[in-house]
C-alpha cells in the first residue's frame, strides 16, 4: 500500500462529515476494508486519506417507528445474528450467511457492500425486495434515497464524496410475505455470485399475489428490480405456469455480460431458472407457514 496514505478515525459523525465537506475524492471512507484494502493493494484504489467510520457508532440494528434501521457499519455477522432481523427480515440473515466466509463477514459491513456497488453485491437484492432506503449524511444535510435509485453503474452510486451512507431503513411490513433468495456461485463459500435472485410477495384475501418484488444481481450494470415481471405477478393466482411466464419476462429485463465467471448467455438462462425457482420456493414455504 502507498505509504503516503494518511488515516483518520473521527469519534463523532459531525466531525467526520466536516472533514468530508471539503473532500474532492482524495479521502475514502473505510469500515471493514474487505474490499478497499485489496483494491489499494492492487493499485486500483489510491486514496490519499482514509476516513475510518468504525468509531461513529453506526452499527446498531433497531426498530424505530415503522422502520427497521440498520446502521451502515453493521457487519454481515451482526446481521446474521440479529434477533430483530430474524423476526422482521429473515431473508437478510440468510443472505448474509452466504457472503464469503466468517473472517470476512466479521469485518465487512452492509454499508460497504452497498457503497462498493458491485453488480454482484449480495445484500442488494434482499434489500431491494424489501423497499429499502439509504440515508446519506453530509455536513448539515441528510437525504434519504430509495435503494432502487441508489445504484447508477458498476461500482457507482449517487453518493457524493462529501457523504457517508449512515443507515439503511426497511419499512416494517404487517403482512406475511413469501420470500426466497438463491445464490448461484462457482463454489460453496468465498464466492462472488454468478447470478442471484431475491423474490417477495404476499397473497391477498383471494389468494392472489400482491406487493410482488423481484430483484436480481450480477446480470446488469447494477443490482436490478425486474419491474415488468413484478407487474405480471400482481393480481394473479400463484402457479407454475405463471411463474414460468414471469421468469421469462424477468430475463428480458437484464443485460448480463460475459466474464471469467460465466457467459452472458448462461446468465440469461439462469435468470429464468433462478427466478422461477425463487418464486416456487417462496410460495411453497409460504404455504407451510400460513
Amino acid at each position: 500500500m502507498n505509504k503516503k496514505t494518511t488515516y483518520i478515525a473521527p469519534t463523532s459523525l459531525d466531525e467526520a462529515l466536516k472533514i468530508l465537506n471539503n473532500n474532492m475524492g482524495e479521502t475514502k471512507v473505510i469500515a471493514g476494508g474487505t474490499d478497499l484494502i485489496p483494491r489499494m493493494r492492487s493499485g486500483m484504489a489510491t486514496p490519499k486519506r482514509l476516513l475510518d467510520i468504525r468509531k461513529l457508532s453506526l452499527s446498531s440494528i433497531k426498530l424505530q417507528g415503522d422502520f427497521i434501521c440498520i446502521g451502515a457499519g453493521a457487519t454481515h455477522t451482526a446481521i446474521m445474528e440479529s434477533e430483530l432481523l430474524s423476526v422482521y427480515c429473515p431473508i437478510l440473515r440468510k443472505v448474509a450467511y452466504k457472503i464469503a466466509g466468517p473472517p470476512i463477514r466479521n469485518r465487512g459491513t452492509v454499508g460497504g457492500n452497498l457503497v462498493n456497488a458491485s453488480p454482484a453485491a449480495d445484500l442488494a437484492p434482499p434489500l431491494l425486495i424489501n423497499d429499502a432506503e439509504v440515508v446519506l449524511s453530509s455536513f448539515r444535510a441528510e437525504r434519504v434515497v430509495p435503494l432502487v435509485d441508489f445504484f447508477t453503474g458498476p461500482g457507482e452510486t449517487v453518493i457524493t464524496h462529501k457523504e457517508i451512507l449512515t443507515e439503511i431503513r426497511i419499512p416494517v411490513s404487517t403482512e406475511t410475505a413469501a420470500t426466497c433468495f438463491i445464490k448461484l456461485g462457482k463454489r460453496n463459500a468465498m464466492t462472488i455470485s454468478v447470478v442471484h435472485s431475491a423474490v417477495r410477495f404476499s397473497l391477498d384475501s383471494k389468494g392472489k399475489i400482491a406487493s410482488s418484488r423481484i430483484a436480481l444481481g450480477s446480470v446488469a450494470p447494477t443490482p436490478v428490480r425486474a419491474v415488468k415481471a413484478e407487474e405480471a405477478l400482481e393480481g394473479e393466482l400463484p402457479g407454475m405456469e405463471l411463474f414460468q411466464n414471469v421468469s421469462a419476462l424477468a430475463s428480458e429485463e437484464v443485460s448480463p455480460i460475459s466474464d471469467n465467471r460465466a457467459s452472458a448467455g448462461y446468465r440469461l438462462e439462469m435468470v429464468y431458472v433462478l427466478t422461477k425457482r425463487s418464486l416456487l420456493t417462496a410460495f411453497s414455504d409460504y404455504k407451510k407457514v400460513i
Partner: protein, 158 residues
C-alpha cells in the same frame, strides 16, 4: 507519514506501539511482535492463512489496519495453548493428522477457536462453515473437521 500510538492486548500481553495507521495487523504481528504463526498467503482476505481472533471474532489480519486495533484483544496461535483447554485442540490436530504442510494450520486453529468460543457443540456443517474462509491445499479438510469435532466432543464430556 504520521504514526499513531495504539494500545492493544496480544495473547494476554499489553502492547503499546507507534506505527503507521495504514499498516496491517498481520505485518505488526509478524514484524514487530515476532509472532510468525499468522501467514501471508494472499494478502487480501481470500485464503484465511492470516486469521487471528480479535475481540472474540475471527478476522483476516491482512485486512485489519493498525488504526483499527486500539483497545482490541487479540489471540494468535501462539497464545492458543493458554486459552482454557484449547491446547487440547492443538493435540487433536496432531493426533488426527489435521495438517500436512501446516501453512494453513494457524489460521485454521484460530477459526476453530472462534467457533468454539461461541458454539462449543457445533454440528459438522457448522464446523465446515466456520473454516470455509480458510483454504487448505493439502488435506481436503475432512481430517481437520474430525480434529475439531473430536475436541468438541471431548470438551462436551468434561
Amino acid at each position: 507519514m504520521e504514526e499513531i500510538r495504539v494500545n492493544f492486548i496480544v495473547n494476554g500481553k499489553s502492547i503499546n506501539l507507534s506505527a503507521d495507521p495504514t499498516r496491517t495487523l498481520l505485518s505488526v504481528l509478524r514484524d514487530e511482535l515476532e509472532l510468525k504463526g499468522a501467514k501471508e498467503a494472499c494478502g487480501q482476505g481470500d485464503c484465511g492463512a492470516c486469521v487471528v481472533v480479535m475481540n472474540d471474532k475471527a478476522v483476516n489480519s491482512c485486512l485489519v489496519l493498525v488504526g483499527q486495533i486500539d483497545g482490541a484483544e487479540i489471540i494468535t496461535v501462539e497464545g492458543l495453548a493458554k486459552q482454557g483447554s484449547f491446547h487440547k485442540l492443538q493435540d487433536h490436530f496432531i493426533e488426527k493428522w489435521a495438517f500436512q504442510c501446516g501453512y494453513c494450520t494457524p489460521g485454521m486453529l484460530m477459526s476453530a477457536y472462534a467457533l468454539l468460543l461461541n458454539n462449543p457443540n457445533p454440528t459438522e456443517e457448522e464446523i465446515r462453515a466456520s473454516i470455509a474462509g480458510n483454504l487448505c491445499r493439502c488435506t481436503g479438510y475432512n481430517m481437520i473437521v474430525e480434529a475439531i469435532e473430536a475436541f468438541a466432543n471431548e470438551t462436551a464430556q468434561n
